[in-house]
């Protein structure tokens, strides 16, 4: 899932202080699970902003609401009429949600309430770890299920580098060296010899280097066209 974390209230305040009517708009999927931007956190941020406004002697209305996801139009369509009554929408969705919503709110700005951090897992409650970088060309079958793109500080394809020390990365003592983990894991799997295979240079065009990415699934799109009238009225129109 996408992991985010709340922005400091000072930073949010600087963004929003000149607006009179603000909606803190939560997203109840990934960022709710990581306790950054779900309904509860949206209410918490709204409360903090009201308190700050009161401290600053600023007359400001701050409300909150949330929907299940900001990244699919059907979810926020039912509340769009209410949402558009505000001067500013502070979205606590991930960057995807902020972008997506912003495309659909016309003259009303949508600002980010959280920092979108990474794709991660939840090894234990309250802990989130980056495990994937979304590079678009997965090689986990060749690296013992451990991603060097996401988990090596240098994104090396031929690690470990000289900065590895007792299994840790030179960036931080608390950071595992991904290549150390890869070697140990592949030893255990009995596939270490795979690492001696020479691979062609990696094509980074599937990642950020190729510009913004888009996946278009023709078989699903065909279905959507049949149901075209439904999506047409489901808040999916850009403004």
């Amino acid at each position: 899932m996408i992991v985010g974390s709340q922005k400091p209230i000072d930073e949010i305040w600087e963004m929003v202080k000149d607006f009179k009517k603000i909606l803190v708009f939560g997203c109840n999927t990934c960022v709710a699970i990581c306790h950054a931007g779900g309904d509860k956190e949206a209410e918490t941020i709204a409360t903090l902003l009201r308190m700050r406004a009161s401290q600053e002697g600023v007359d400001m209305q701050v409300d909150h609401t949330s929907v299940m996801r900001h990244c699919e139009p059907e979810y926020f369509d039912p509340v769009m009429d209410d949402v558009k009554k505000y001067d500013l929408i502070l979205s606590t969705a991930c960057g995807v949600g902020v972008n997506f919503l912003s495309d659909r709110t016309g003259i009303i700005p949508v600002y980010p309430g959280i920092n979108t951090s990474f794709y991660g897992a939840v090894p234990e409650p309250g802990v989130f770890e980056e495990l994937c970088a979304g590079c678009g060309d997965c090689i986990l079958h060749m690296t013992g299920g451990i991603c060097p793109i996401a988990r090596c500080s240098k994104t090396l394809m031929n690690g470990p580098c000289g900065g590895t020390k007792e299994g840790k990365c030179e960036v931080s003592d608390e950071m595992d060296c991904a290549w150390y983990l890869i070697v140990e894991r592949m030893k255990m799997l009995g596939t270490l010899e795979k690492l001696s295979e020479v691979l062609p240079p990696r094509d980074w065009s599937t990642s950020r280097d190729g510009g913004p990415r888009r996946v278009s699934m023709e078989h699903i799109r065909a279905y959507e066209e049949k149901e075209g009238e439904k999506t047409e009225t489901a808040g999916g129109k850009k403004e």
Partner: protein, 699 residues
């Protein structure tokens, strides 16, 4: 101030919870109650000191609540899931406590109900069933007349049940409620003697026969005739109406049921030196409730088990005793009453008075000239689906048709018959519309949950000592004082009052499953909080990132929504800081909260329910300091809540610090002990610290 949410408001919490409870299995106490009294709800209200509201819950289904508060056989307690932990909740004692505390409120609420319907209803008999029907029909706007052969209303409650169990002023509270509604009572009026059944039928649009089982069965053995042999009901009636009764010094009561116990204990109080009961059954088989047997034994009443009466022996007409024969078995292999005897083994029990208490029957002779049919075995012909007799418009309810039972069972029958009469008078079909009271209960407490529930002994009530109580008909059982009642109410595990998930909001994040100390939530595509596991502590709701969890027994948002008016009541020109204290009230209820004037308390049933947003809200509303006050060490009735509550307080400290406020303005405190006023001490200390912070940093 708005709560800042633009989502549509749900319906009021009370309404929402009531509807939800109907859709889900009942708490076992409620399911076991013949009228489905919502025990969990009223016990919860008692625990919060909300006695008038508790009374409303009780009275909404039970018009003879005061009677039940002293004599009910409390099937709710037998069903209580605390039985799997230690002892059941003392529901009956709590009911009595609530009724006593809310007595003034109740009396002030008595009102005449306007007759809005022109139909007249007669109710024959004023026992639990007749009184209930009168109550319900008066509420519906009918003109109701009760016909009672005794000089007072109540049926067996006033004419047979001894006052040491049911004081007449207790019964009168219930009767006064009903009569105040405008029900006409014609006492000293026996059908067939003072007025004929046909006259009653002519004068009314609907009639209810609720005459109960008012006659004792006699015993057909040699010597069992007067003098010296008495029957239970006339004996109890004479005692109830304080008529003179000739008793010998050795009284023998034949029978092993609850009435036999009443008879024996009454005989003792009338001065019989020695009272013995003889019954067919063993101690385990005796139909009397165990607690009543125990109380009788305390009063020095002897019980001879497994002897059957054979003959009353006399000498010159005076009774010398009872010849008895050994019982081999009481019930057949199908559990039916079918005693067998060993005729070779006999014994003799000395006595000079014998009282026969082997069961009751009805007297329907008043129906003889009417068209209401009575079958060959002397039972009134009726349809249990409609409560109607063979004559349209004439209905029956209570023991006269259901057979012997409890007062509260008769109340259930009374409700059904009142509904039947109403539906009939409205011209509709009765079949299928009457309430059944058959509800599925929440499953038994899983063993692993029972193992982790804090043991708390049941609060005992005091009884008059046996040597004192046998010398009068004074009520022998005392009620709870407030402290005991609140402690006892705190033992309730809140079955059915726990957490529920709004599946539209749940994103299956596992938070509730990870956090619950009792393993109640099970997250698949959404979370399901299993009510047989849930202990209603409320720990999960404030943790849910989607705010998808509600509690049935309270509104999770109420602390927030009430905060503005609470803090707003502090004088703005105050010298002292305004402090909000969210206080666990489980162990002291509303007692002991003599807090400093500047501290506004929010009693909560456990600090587990405190949400970060509640705490922020207090500051938003103008509080200078906020305290979360836990109960004293070792007193918490829930498991493992400390870590989460202190984490929430720490997080709130971080958040207010981000706003430039001193983190010391919020603290998690713990009351110092369970005695005296432990909450005030820690609150006063905290208030002083907040005062220093305010002096240093401003409001």
């Amino acid at each position: 101030m708005s709560d800042g949410s633009i989502k549509e408001k749900n319906k009021p919490h009370k309404e929402w919870a009531a509807e939800l409870k109907e859709q889900r299995p009942y708490s076992p106490c409620r399911a076991a109650c013949p009228v489905n009294t919502d025990v969990q709800a009223y016990v919860g209200l008692i625990a919060q000191g909300r006695y008038a509201e508790a009374l409303e819950v009780i009275r909404s289904v039970n018009p003879i609540a005061s009677v039940c508060s002293v004599i009910c056989h409390h099937p709710c307690e037998q069903a209580c899931r605390r039985c799997a932990v230690d002892e059941p909740l003392a529901v009956r004692h709590l009911k009595r406590f609530a009724l006593e505390k809310a007595a003034d409120y109740r009396r002030n609420k008595r009102r005449l109900v306007k007759q809005t319907r022109d139909k007249k209803i007669a109710i024959i008999g004023s026992g639990p069933s007749g009184l209930t029907a009168a109550n319900d029909l008066a509420d519906l706007g009918y003109g109701v007349t009760i016909y009672e052969r005794h000089p007072v209303l109540g049926g067996m409650l006033s004419s047979a049940i001894p006052t040491y169990r049911l004081p007449r002023e207790t019964l009168q509270e219930d009767i006064d409620d009903i009569i105040a509604k405008g029900v006409e009572a014609r006492t000293n009026c026996e059908i067939g003697r003072d007025i004929t059944m046909n006259e009653i039928i002519d004068k009314h649009d609907a009639i209810l026969i609720a005459v109960g089982l008012s006659e004792s069965r006699a015993l057909n053995i040699p010597g069992a005739d007067v003098p010296g042999v008495l029957l239970a009901i006339p004996f109890l009636e004479d005692a109830a109406f304080q008529k003179k009764i000739e008793l010998g010094s050795k009284v023998l009561v034949i029978g092993g049921g609850n009435v036999a116990i009443d008879v024996a204990r009454t005989a003792k109080r009338l001065g019989a030196g020695y009272v013995e009961m003889v019954c067919l059954e063993s101690a385990e088989e005796m139909p009397a409730w165990k607690w009543e047997v125990d109380e009788a034994v305390e009063e020095d009443i002897a019980i001879s088990h497994r002897w059957g009466p054979k003959a009353v022996r006399r000498d010159n007409g005076r009774i010398t005793g009872l010849e008895v024969v050994k019982v081999l078995s009481v019930f057949d292999s199908n559990g039916r009453f079918s005693p067998t005897f060993d005729n070779d083994t006999t014994s003799f029990i000395e006595a000079d008075t014998v009282i026969i208490t082997i069961g009751q029957m009805t007297n329907l002779s008043f129906l003889e000239d009417s068209q209401v049919q009575v079958d060959e075995r002397g039972r009134v012909v009726w349809d249990p689906e409609t409560h109607m007799s063979s004559l349209r418009g004439v209905f029956v309810s209570g023991e006269v048709v259901t057979g012997p039972g409890s007062a509260i069972q008769a109340v259930a029958s009374g409700h059904r018959s009142a509904m039947a009469m109403h539906v009939y008078l409205e011209g509709h079909e009765i079949e299928g519309v009457l309430p059944t009271y058959e509800k599925e209960p929440i499953a038994q407490l899983p063993g692993d949950v029972a193992d982790v529930i804090h043991r708390e002994p049941r609060m005992k009530v005091e009884h008059l000592p046996p040597e004192t109580r046998c010398s009068s008909f004074m009520q022998f059982e005392f009620g709870y004082d407030e402290e005991s009642a609140l402690k006892e109410a705190g033992r309730c595990r809140g079955c059915g009052g726990g957490a529920v998930v709004d599946t539209d909001k749940c994103m299956a994040c596992l938070t509730c499953q990870r956090i619950c100390p009792y393993g109640a939530p099970l997250v698949t595509s959404v979370s399901e909080i299993r009510s047989e596991y849930c202990q209603a502590c409320g720990l999960c709701a404030p943790e849910c990132p989607g705010q998808a969890i509600s509690m049935v027994s309270y509104d999770v948002g109420e602390v927030r929504s009430n905060m503005s008016s609470l803090v707003g009541s502090v004088d703005p020109k105050r010298q002292e800081p305004a402090v909000v204290a969210l206080i666990c009230s489980h162990h002291v209820g509303i007692k002991g909260f003599e807090l400093p004037d500047n501290v506004r308390s929010v009693p909560i049933h456990c600090t587990s329910r405190v949400d970060i947003i509640d705490l922020l809200k207090a500051f938003e509303c103008g509080a200078d300091g906020v305290a979360v006050v836990r109960c004293p060490a070792g007193a918490c009735k829930y498991k493992d809540i400390e870590t989460r509550v202190s984490a929430r307080v720490r997080r709130t400290k971080e958040l207010i610090h981000m706003l430039g406020m001193d983190a010391g303005r919020i603290e998690l405190l713990q009351a110092v002990s369970d005695d005296g006023n432990p909450y005030a001490v820690v609150c006063a200390d905290f208030s002083e610290k907040v005062k220093q912070i305010v002096l240093r940093t401003g409001r």
